[in-house]
Amino acid sequence: MSKYEYIPEPALVKGNHDFASITKLVTDVNLKPTPKGWYLAMLPANALLLLLLTSIGYLIWEGIGIWGLNNPVGWGWAIINFVWWVGIGHAGTLISAILFLFRQDWRTAINRFAEAMTIFAVMCAGVFPAIHVGRIWAIYWVFPIPNQMAMWPNFNSPLLWDVFAVSTYFTVSLLFWYVGLVPDLATLRDRATDKVRKFAYGLFALGWTGSNRAWWNYEKAYMILAGLATPLVLSVHTIVSFDFAVSMIPGWHTTIFPPYFVAGAIFSGFAMVMTLMLVARKVYGMEDIMTNNHMEKMNIIIMVTGSIVGFAYMMEFFIAWYSGVEYEKAIFLLRATGPYAWAYWIMMFCNVVSPQVFWFKKLRTNVGFTFFISIVVNIGMWFERFVITVTSLSTDYLPSSWDYYSPTTWDVLTYVGTFGLFFTMFLMFLRFLPMVALAEIKAVLPQGDPHNYDDETQEFHPHVEKVPQPKAVKA
């Protein structure tokens, strides 16, 4: 008897589902009348959205001065929130593109969901660069538009790279998401009974028939998009990190930033997907599709990226010491021991310590615990951006200009407000669009695979895993 035991891959979809039942399970959410709970959730979301608009309005009226910024610290919560939201967005693209290229079929349960999150997160992120400037009404000058000054933007500026990166990222994510939606919109079109839905879904389904000649090009397009989105998602956070890395402030001017930011992005993104997924699947009873196996896989990714981030933190310290640059050494010591040490240690605990618990299978398969950690991780990642942005500026080269930064109420309200935007969009999505990629999940059902059918009778027989018997080792 061998000491090896073969554990077959768990089924991607639990329960005894066929095509029709899956369609029903997913699309009924959109076609059945709106549940009261949805309105209850929409209420606070809209309230927060209103708060966001108010605080932006007041900002435009009074000026950046309503924020806590000061002379050394020119960037505060606005930039922190920007980086944080963008980071969160990345998980979506990662799940839909990179896992697709790696043929990770389990992604089908969550990719639609994650992509939606990406788009809304990037929207929230996009708010900040636009409003954090002193003259908001002139923000469009960052685009190369002919103007009365006959001036063009400065292509040496990382901030301008950012403009292109983030807008490209948003556009491509949107297209990717929409392409994925088309067949499912067609499904909704065909299942819809009332005129409005028929028309609306029909319009956006573009007349999709499910023709396999169309599927043929469609799959090609989807693959190419995945191939494009993968380097794109990596480039976006790389370029975001350039905002800091290309500058010359100690603690910012470091080459480790791109990989470290990307890892951090995936880290926080997965945590956010987790938070949302665990809630949504409970509310909409989709445990069969978004199974605990998915949760476990994602927890492992969180643990891995968390460790990468932790490694980056330590590497920063090492390089600061190794480089021998006094300002570099000073800033990292100040982070850990200076006026912002509290923030630094919160970050350390949330990002480095907390995900390590997922080494234990018991914990990474525990729903409640996972939910808790997913939130801790996002808090931690916010503090990471805080530590990077604020500490470096507040204590840079000349001690004479060192100054402590603390936010005002308006900083906080604006940030809280973006959650209003995010959840408003997300609730709309849950209500009106299929939260699971139907076509894709059908393709990975056992019934979806033509090889699971008898060649003669054409009858379905479930796939049986052939367990490979390891050869007995000769003495």
Partner: protein, 181 residues
């Protein structure tokens, strides 16, 4: 079976019970020498492209062209703006500061490629096409749920209703129906 000759025939639509059946029948259809036909399923079926003998997709070329446009366009834009049209001394850096342009070149290349991929795909699939004779068929709604269909179009040179119907019946169609325009 009641067929009104007022409308002219679009083609003959047959439903099959599962993806396997759909693959088998499409093989037969191809053998029988039809070329103006198509199969419909709620998801892309693995291996049906061989069965239908589909040609390689041209999408790759479209993306290549649009991507190249993005790449060259980006370089031209930045060269024109910061070297030709209005050169400004920034931090004593050269006007033609290529390393700094790489990120934007990359982004625009990706952006244009993505446009090529998406709109090229729609173009090749003839989308958007909001009215389609098949939508007249009530049962065809299953095509986006759990139905597997084949439709041979009347335009096909070899098209003869009875022969096609016979072919479908032999292939074990669960349902056959004429589609009118």
């Amino acid at each position: 079976m009641s067929t009104t000759k007022s409308k002219n025939l679009h083609g003959l639509l047959a439903e099959f019970k599962n993806p396997k059946a759909l693959i088998d029948v499409s093989k037969k259809v191809v053998e029988a020498g039809y070329d103006k036909f198509d199969t419909y399923s709620p998801y892309p079926i693995h291996g049906i492209d061989h069965a239908m003998k589909l040609p390689k997709s041209k999408l790759g070329w479209i993306v290549l062209v649009s991507g190249t446009l993005g790449f060259l366009g980006a370089i031209w834009m930045m060269y024109y703006m910061s070297v030709t049209d209005y050169a400004i001394n920034i931090s004593g850096k050269p006007f033609f500061n290529f390393p700094a342009w790489v990120p934007i070149i990359f982004e625009l290349t990706v952006l244009l490629s993505a446009f090529g991929a998406v709109f090229g795909m729609f173009f090749l699939n003839g989308l958007p096409k909001l009215n389609n004779p098949l939508f007249e068929v009530e049962r065809f709604k299953k095509a986006t749920d759990d139905g597997f269909f084949v439709c041979i179009e009347a335009k096909d040179s070899k098209f003869q209703v009875d022969l096609v119907r016979q072919l479908f019946e032999e292939a074990g169609a669960t349902h056959i129906e004429e589609v009118y325009e």
